[in-house]
Structures are given as structure tokens and as C-alpha cells.
């Protein structure tokens, strides 16, 4: 399918959302490598972080096909205000309860988004996200199991999971900020949009949160942390980008 100039621009916004969310959270989660709570979980969490970077790489390659810079340059040498990631992924890893809750809320959203995109009229995107399905099934199984386990283990772990949920929800709802050119995406069959995703996500995660025994605040009273999709970021992003690109910037032309 051929897209006109405006549609292509909107498609790029979508690809930057996907690439940046996966890259930044992949990098954040990899900060647990070597510091995980137990050895097997360290391996599992690191492995999933790697999966995310892998997904990001696929999206950066699509962007390159559409005339954007080389994947490495695009990931490591782009200005902060050109990033399209949401605030949720920028936040530091915090304690493990925060990282786990973010993993749970984020991966369910991304899994549903991938599902919606698996029928996209932009074929390279549709076939890529279909490839990610197996990995995502594991990611959400991993997240669901931990959330259930820690919410029901003892009083302390319950309290920690509840406080992580309360802290995460405004940030999580910020994932669904309307994209620039979103109506063009739905009209051309590329992507049916963030509002539909938000509804499906709520239908998916609310029963899981309730069956874990956590108390869900009224989502309508929560102010979502918007801004990321427009390039307005938290103070956490810049130091992350500096650290992530430190080696790349020593010699940007190095052959790897």
C-alpha cells in the first residue's frame, strides 16, 4: 500500500513511539542486570529487556527505510525533544516493586498495541509485530505471575505492590496520549488509535489487579502524565540518554 506524505509523517510518529518506548524501557530494565532480587529473576528480567531493545531495533530499521537516519545514529544521537517515549518508561527503576508494576502495566499495553498492529495496512510493521507475539506472551505471563505472587505473599509485599500501583497509574495512563496525525493512521488502516488501546488495556488489566487483591483507584480521577508523545519529557530522560550513548559518542563512526 502506498501512503501519501501526511500519512507517512503520521506513520513515522507511530514508529517513533514504538521504538522509543521499547528502547528506553529496555535500557531502564537492563539496569537491573546483576542486581536482580534472585539469580533466575535477574536472568529473566535482563532477557526481557534485551527483547525490548530487539523490538526497538526493528522499528528503527523501518524508520530508516522511510528515510530517517541509521538505527544506531537515530537511537543514540537524537536530541531529547525528538524522542516520543512516554514519561512512564523514563522513570528510574526505583525499587523492584515499581519496576515490576511498570513491567506489568506497560507490557500488557504493548502486547495489545502489537495485536492491533498485526493487521496494519503497513505490511512491514504488521509482520514484525506478529514475530514478537511469542516473546510478549511470556512477558505478560511473567508479569502476571509476579504481581499475583507478591500481592498475596504477606502484608509487607501487599503494601509494596499497592503503593507501586498507586505510583504507576498516572504514568501508565500517560502511555495513551493521542498521537499527532492519529486520525490519518486510522483512516489509512495503519493503526486504530490510542483511545481504543486504552479501553482494551483497562478491560485486560483491571480484572488482573482485582484478582490479585489490590485496590484500584477510580481511573477517571487520575490525571495522566502526558507530554512524552510531543517531545516534552521528565528530567530523568536526559541523564539516561547521556549514559546510554556514552560509548557510541566516543566514536560515532566506529564499525561494530
Amino acid at each position: 500500500m502506498q501512503f501519501n506524505k501526511e500519512q507517512t509523517k503520521a506513520l513515522k510518529e507511530l514508529l517513533y513511539l514504538l521504538a522509543d518506548d521499547e528502547l528506553i524501557l529496555g535500557h531502564r530494565n537492563s539496569e537491573w542486570t546483576g542486581l536482580g532480587p534472585i539469580l533466575e529473576e535477574d536472568i529473566a528480567f535482563s532477557s526481557m529487556a534485551q527483547d525490548k531493545i530487539g523490538h526497538a531495533q526493528n522499528f528503527f530499521e523501518m524508520l530508516h527505510e522511510l528515510g530517517e537516519p541509521e538505527p544506531d545514529t537515530n537511537a543514540f544521537a537524537r536530541d531529547e525533544n525528538l524522542f516520543r517515549c512516554c514519561h512512564f518508561v523514563e522513570y528510574p527503576i526505583g525499587e523492584y516493586n515499581f519496576s515490576l508494576m511498570r513491567h506489568f502495566l506497560f507490557d500488557h499495553a504493548m502486547f495489545i498495541r502489537y495485536g492491533m498492529l498485526s493487521g496494519s495496512s503497513y505490511e512491514p510493521l504488521a509482520s514484525a509485530v506478529r514475530k514478537f507475539k511469542g516473546e510478549m506472551i511470556y512477558h505478560v505471563l511473567h508479569a502476571d505471575t509476579w504481581i499475583k505472587q507478591l500481592s498475596q505473599a504477606d502484608e509487607e509485599s501487599y503494601r509494596l505492590m499497592q503503593s507501586a500501583l498507586d505510583e504507576c497509574l498516572p504514568l501508565a495512563l500517560g502511555m495513551f496520549e493521542t498521537l499527532s496525525g492519529e486520525n490519518l493512521l486510522s483512516d489509512s488502516g495503519i493503526y486504530s488509535g490510542e483511545e481504543l488501546l486504552r479501553q482494551s488495556w483497562i478491560e485486560k488489566v483491571v480484572p488482573l489487579i482485582e484478582s490479585a487483591g489490590l485496590i484500584l483507584p477510580d481511573l477517571n480521577n487520575i490525571q495522566p502524565a502526558f507530554g512524552g508523545r510531543k517531545g516534552i519529557h521528565t528530567d530523568y530522560l536526559k541523564p539516561l540518554l547521556d549514559e546510554m550513548s556514552e560509548v557510541f559518542k566516543i566514536d560515532p563512526d566506529a564499525e561494530w
Partner: protein, 123 residues
Amino acid sequence: MKIRSLDPRITRLEIEKNKEPVIDLKPLDHWQTFEVFVQVKKGQHHSHVGSLHAPNPEMAYILAKEQFGRRTKIVSLWVVKTADVFTAPGDEIMFERNDEKIYREAGGYKVMDRINRFKKSKK
């Protein structure tokens, strides 16, 4: 005095030097162990590949998946509580061989797996 490391993640944790460990685990204060079995191909046996600590089968399963299914392709994974594996005490002596009855041993079975694999590959 805080620990400063070349690894920025360690430095960020702001760990006090010479501080007592936060959690004091008693020798038996650990999770139980689970035995992990993987199936490499449909129709083949599940083979034992190792064990790990977990609080319950669900947790054992998600931890085993990356621990034992990451480097090779597998199609199925089982976890079994180590405590559920039955064995008889003193089995080592029971299995000792009597050299005079060596005619009972079926040495041919040892290469049977290889023969079967070879036959299959020729089909």
C-alpha cells in the same frame, strides 16, 4: 562512606561501605527447589536439565523458562517439586553390580538412541 563503582548502577544505589547486610537469611530460610524438564522436539522425552529455587510451581515455571529455554529452542517445559521425586534410601548399594552376572547387562541398549537417530536421518 558510600561505595563508588565504575558501574554507575552500583554507585546510584548509594550503599554504605562496611554496613551490615539488610536481610539476614537463616540457613533454612530459602525457597524450595524445583526440578526442570524440557522437551526439545514434539514427541521426544522431556529431559531433566537442572533445578532452581521458587516459592511455587507458577513462579518456578516463569523462572525456568528463561533459565533453561533461552539458549536452545524448546517446545515444552515441566517443573516438578524436588520433594515430590521419590527415591529409596541406600540406593547406591542396591544398584551395585555383581561381576559374575555380567551376562544380564544389555550393552546394546546403550547405543540404541544413536541407532534410532541414525535410522531416522536416513528416512
